[in-house]
Amino acid sequence: MPETTLAAGVRIRDLTKSYGPVRAVAGVDLDIVAGETVALLGPTGAGKSTTLDMLLGLTRPDAGSVAVFGRTPEQAVRDGLVGAMLQSGGLISEVSVRELLELAASLYPRPMAVADVLARADLTELAGRRTTKLSGGQAQRVRFALALVADPELLVLDEPTAAMDVESRRRFWASMRELTAAGRTVLFATHYLEEADQYADRVVLMAGGAVVADGPATAIKAVVGGRTVRATLPGARAADLEALPGVTAVEIHGDGIRLTCTDSDAALRALLAAQPAAKDIEVGGADLEDAFVALTSGATA
């Protein structure tokens, strides 16, 4: 297979898809460089799954184009270049985990050895177990194994660690690190924002069918100013706090207040001057969750 086409990575241009009056995906542009690990974040209904479906050739776009390693998604799938883990991806009954993976491996031109897949998906001990006797997290690892067995250049994972416990999740990402070290391209959708922050080279935020932010997790944090001020302030009024300089968002929970700031120094000085009763003050960096809320609420308003 020519390296030049693998180097083309994934190229999505002006991708659009409507279901009736609903614009599920409204003009998405996205480039993924070969070897990159990209997280796709967004609230339910943001258009993530529809975008992934079009990337995989399961859904036909109304307009726009998708190229995977310089070819159509269908061709990329036929060439065994793509492995995908769908959220709803069902397992069949009356087979053991090993038999299921042997079956899947037989469908690809250059599959990964089944023993290798079992090890990477942390399934070696469960190889002989029937698929109907697996816990939710174990079934999720089998879905991951099904995505791996193609030995794909592009891995597409829709909420890969859903239903996994903390330990499984840690092992899952450790396994992913090994895989991506070999130069694979990964696109994953997740609800665990810390996963995107920790494991992705780049975070793409979607809302209302469009990409609202695209960059390294650190850059996404910078977009919203990067700092929060927390304090205890009984009887605080949102309007007073919003009027403070450098404050972009205010949350009040009982006696606790939380200010999202572009300039936390100015905000803090003004807060202390205007509200001498404020105590237990903490200043911290904004996490990705904040970036997420700020950006997506802005786009849907």
């Binding site: 399961l58 859904t59 799938v77 793509v82 087979v95 042997e102 899947a104 469908l107």
Partner: protein
């Protein structure tokens, strides 16, 4: 279609409890029961016992063919067919593998009933006749395979289960699988001779009398097969359309 895929499909079917109950157990049990009750005399030029033996063997084979519908419906619901679309396997292979599997797992259903007929019920036939009966039964199973594929792509499993059970029973009774059609009212006997189940049962029995179902029987089976195949193809296309 690769060998691993087909082997796994066959193995899965044989492991399902439903297979043992409806395809193997019930036909065998019913054959033993009916043979002791109605095994005397002759029917359609063969002994009553042989007649019943073929009836119950095709009854099991019919079960094997129609049950693939339930598997298809279940695998569609579970999202497995969607997962398969993310592999290089061409879509038609899935359906073809199901059809071949149905025929393969019908073989034990036929052979076991024959074996009981030969060993316990004293049915004596030349080896070539056994082979002809089995071969014709499998050939005549074609409309039921297509029917199963059609229903599997149209219905969900909870509808399909009871519906195929009912359909199966009606086709069995009206088609003279359970008792000779000449015992039916004459209007119904006419209907029977237009049904695929009638010609399936006859296809298995005629070789025992040294004959075959003839061009007429073959045509009826071909028309049903073509009809169900058309419906199955349409349902398959609709089910797998990228929208």
């Amino acid at each position: 279609m690769n060998a691993t895929y087909l082997r796994t499909e066959v193995r899965r079917t044989l492991r399902a409890p439903r297979y043992f109950i409806f395809v193997i157990g019930m036909p065998l049990g019913l054959f033993l029961l009916f043979a002791s009750l109605y095994g005397q005399g002759t029917q359609d030029g063969i002994s009553g016992t042989a007649w019943l033996m073929v009836s119950m063997s095709v009854f099991g084979a019919m079960g094997a063919a129609v049950s693939i519908g339930g598997r298809i419906a279940g695998e569609r619901q579970a999202g497995w067919t969607r997962q398969l679309r993310l592999t290089p396997m061409p879509g038609w292979t899935y359906v073809a593998a199901k059809a071949v599997t149905a025929l393969l797992v019908a073989v034990p259903a036929l052979v076991l009933v024959y074996a009981v007929g030969a060993l316990a019920e004293g049915v004596r036939l030349p080896a070539s006749t056994w082979a002809e009966a089995a071969g014709w039964s499998l050939l005549a199973l074609a409309p039921f395979v297509a029917l199963g594929i059609w229903l599997g792509h149209r219905l969900t499993n909870d509808v399909l289960g009871p519906l195929s059970g009912a359909l199966f029973t009606v086709l069995g009774i009206l088609g003279g699988v359970w008792f000779p059609v000449d015992q039916l009212p004459s209007a119904l006997a006419g209907v029977a001779r237009a049904l695929p189940s009638y010609w399936l049962a006859q296809a298995g029995r005629e070789p025992l009398a040294g004959t075959w179902i003839g061009w007429h029987g073959l045509s009826v089976l071909a028309v049903w097969t073509a009809g169900f195949t058309l419906l199955a193809a349409r349902a398959y296309r609709r089910d797998t359309a990228r929208n």
